[in-house]
Amino acid sequence: MFAFAHQVLSGLAMGSVYASFALAIAMIYQSTRLVNFAQGEMAMFSTYLAWAMINAGLPYWVAFSLTVVLSFVLGAAIERLVIRRFDSAPVLTVVIVFIGLLVIINSVAGWLFTYSIKSFDSPFPESARFGGGYMSPHEMGAIGVTLTMLALIYVFFRFTSLGLAMRAVAQNPVSARLVGIRVGRMLAIGWGLAAAVGAVAGMMAAPIIYLDPNMMSGVLLYGFAAALLGGIDNPWGAVIGGFLVGVLENIAGAYLVGSEIKLSVALAIIIGVLVAKPSGLFGRVIVARV
C-alpha cells in the first residue's frame, strides 16, 4: 500500500509538470487552433538559461524569475517574428514551421550548451521534512510551485482587464477587434505566457529528468497526451489531464509495462483519446460547418 501511495504521489509531481505543459499547449490552441510542437524545446532552452544563470552565481529564485521574464519575451518574439507570417496558412504549412522551430532551438541549445547531460539542482532542501516519506521535498516543491502558478494564471484571466481581453480574443477575434482590442498584441502575450509557463515546468522537471537538449521530448509527448485527455480547448481540463496522466504514467511504469516504454504509454493515451473521445474529458464537442 505504501508503495502504491508513493507511486501515485510521485506521479502527481511529474503530473504537475505535464499539467503546466498541457496548459501552455491549450492556451495557444485556444487562441489560434494550433498545437505548438516547439513548446518542449522552448522550455528546454529556458531551463538552460536558468542553468547558465545559476552557474554564473545568481541565487536560485533570482535566476528563476529572470528566466520566466526572458522566456516570456522570447515566446512573444517568436510569435511576432515567425508565427505571425503564417497567419492564415494551411495546417501543413504551420506544422512544418513548428517543426522548423523545434529543430532550430534544439540545435542551437546543442551548440551553445553541448549535448552532454547536466544535473540541475533543486531549490528545495535535500532532507525530507514532511510528507512522511511519501514524496521527496522536490516533488512537494514542484507541486507547490505549479499550484501557485496556476492560481496566479487563474487570477490573471479571471480578474484583470488584460486577461478578459485575452479571453475575448480566444473566443471571437473579429468581435474582439471591433471593440478595440489589439488582437495581434494579445496573441503575442499569449505566446509569451505559454513560454513562461513552459519555462517553469522545465525548471521543475530538470532536477528529476536531468538537463540535455532532448530532455523535453518525453515531457512534450505527455503534455500532448494530458491536453488531449483533459480536452485541448479547455485549459483547466488540460491541467487536470496533466495530473491524471502523471499518475497513470507512474502506475503503468510500476505495475504494467515497466519504465522502458513510457513513451508508448503516451502514444497509447493519445491514440486512445483521439479514437474514443476526441473532445477529451472536459472539452467541447465541435461540429464542423460545411
Binding site: 510542437f37 506544422v95 522548423g100 534544439n106 540545435s107 542551437v108 546543442g110 483521439l274
Partner: protein
C-alpha cells in the same frame, strides 16, 4: 488552322522527344555511376536512392493526399526490422524479404491509418509525432529481445552479387536499390496521374467536395496510408541491407523529421522533387561533418539549424520547394521564348 495545329503537334512531339532524351541520359548516368565512383560514394548514392523511395512514400501521403505524418521513421524502422528478422532469424532470402517487409508495412500503415481517419490534419500530426518518439523505445523493449536483438540491434551480412556478376558488394547493392526504385517510381508516377491520383488531390484540397463527387475518402485515405508506409518500409529494408545493421537508435524522431525536411525542400506533391530532397538529406549532414573538423565539435548541430531555417524559409518564400522553383523558372523561360 491545320497549319497551327500541326505546328503545335510538332512542338508537342519535340518536347516529348526532349523528355525521353532527358530520361535516357539520366538513366545512363545512374547506371554508369558505380563504375566511376568510389566504393564509399557508391554506398552514399545507394542511400540517396533509398531516401528517394522513402520520401516518395511520404510525399504520396502528405504532398498528394494532405495527411501529415511526422512519424514515417517508424515505418522505415518496421521495414528495416521486418527484413532483418526474416533474413537473420528465419533464413528468408533477401530478395523475398524486401517485398514481405513492404507488405508488413502496408498492413501497419493501413492499421495506423484507421484511427488516423478520425483525426483532422493537426491531430494526425500529433499522433504520428508520438509514434516517431515511441518507436525506438518499442524496438528496445525487452519482451521482443529474442527477435529484435534489443539495444544492440541485428547484424546482417551484406549480400554478394549473384550469378557470378563481376560487381563488388556495394555496386551490387546499388543496382539492387535502383531495381527496387524503378518499378516503385513508375507505379507512383502512373498512380498520381490517374483517376486515383486526382481523387487523392481532391481529398487533400476539399474533402467534403471530394466526398460529394463520390470519392470514398475513408478507403482512399487508409489505403494511401498503407501504400505510403509500404514504400517507406521497402526503403527501410534496403537501408538495413546496405548498412548491414539495424539498431533502435538509428530510427529516432530526427529521422522522421529529416523525411519531412526532404519532401518540403524537394517539393510537396512532386515526384522528381524527392530526388532533390534525398540528395539534400544525404549530403548536407556530410558537409556539416566536414565543417565540424574545421569549426570544432559543436558544428555537429549545424545541419539541423540549417534544416530548420530552410523549412521556415521554404514555407515562407517557396512553398512548392525546389521542384516548384524549377517549374516557375521553366515557365518564365517558355514565356520569354514565346515572346522572342
Amino acid at each position: 488552322m491545320t497549319l497551327a495545329r500541326s505546328g503545335a503537334a510538332l512542338e508537342a512531339e519535340g518536347s516529348r522527344r526532349a523528355r525521353v532524351t532527358a530520361v535516357a541520359v539520366a538513366l545512363l548516368c545512374l547506371f554508369a555511376l558505380p563504375f566511376v565512383a568510389s566504393g564509399y560514394q557508391t554506398f552514399q548514392f545507394s542511400q540517396v536512392v533509398i531516401y528517394a523511395i522513402a520520401l516518395l512514400g511520404l510525399n504520396l501521403l502528405t504532398g498528394y493526399n494532405g495527411q501529415i505524418s511526422l512519424g514515417h521513421g517508424a515505418f522505415f524502422a518496421i521495414g528495416g526490422y521486418a527484413a532483418a528478422i526474416l533474413i537473420v532469424k528465419f533464413g528468408v532470402p533477401y530478395g523475398e524479404a524486401i517485398p514481405i517487409a513492404g507488405a508488413v508495412c502496408f498492413l501497419a500503415g493501413f492499421l495506423f491509418g484507421l484511427p488516423a481517419l478520425r483525426l483532422g490534419g493537426l491531430y494526425l500530426a500529433l499522433a504520428t509525432f508520438a509514434l516517431a518518439l515511441a518507436a525506438p523505445q518499442l524496438l528496445k523493449f525487452k519482451a521482443f529481445d529474442a527477435y529484435t536483438g534489443g539495444v544492440q540491434g541485428l547484424l546482417l551480412a551484406k549480400p554478394k552479387a549473384p550469378l557470378g556478376l563481376p560487381l563488388t558488394r556495394d555496386q551490387w547493392l546499388y543496382f539492387l536499390c535502383l531495381a527496387c526504385a524503378a518499378p516503385l517510381f513508375w507505379a507512383a508516377g502512373n498512380l498520381v496521374n490517374s483517376r486515383i491520383g486526382r481523387a487523392l488531390v481532391a481529398i487533400r484540397d476539399h474533402p467534403i467536395a471530394a466526398e460529394a463527387m463520390g470519392v470514398d475518402a475513408a478507403l482512399y485515405k487508409t489505403t494511401t496510408f498503407g501504400l505510403s508506409a509500404a514504400y517507406t518500409g521497402v526503403a527501410g529494408a534496403l537501408m538495413g541491407l546496405i548498412v548491414g545493421f539495424v539498431s533502435p537508435d538509428s530510427f529516432g524522431l530526427f529521422l522522421s523529421l529529416s523525411f519531412v525536411v526532404g519532401i518540403v525542400v524537394g517539393g510537396l506533391a512532386s515526384i522528381p522533387g524527392v530526388f532533390v530532397g534525398a540528395l539534400f538529406i544525404e549530403f548536407v549532414p556530410n558537409f556539416a561533418d566536414r565543417l565540424s573538423d574545421v569549426l570544432g565539435e559543436s558544428a555537429k548541430a549545424m545541419p539541423w539549424a540549417i534544416y530548420g531555417l530552410l523549412l521556415i524559409l521554404t514555407m515562407y518564400a517557396a512553398p512548392s520547394g525546389a521542384a516548384g522553383a524549377v517549374r516557375l523558372l521553366m515557365q518564365a523561360l517558355e514565356r520569354r521564348r514565346r515572346r522572342a
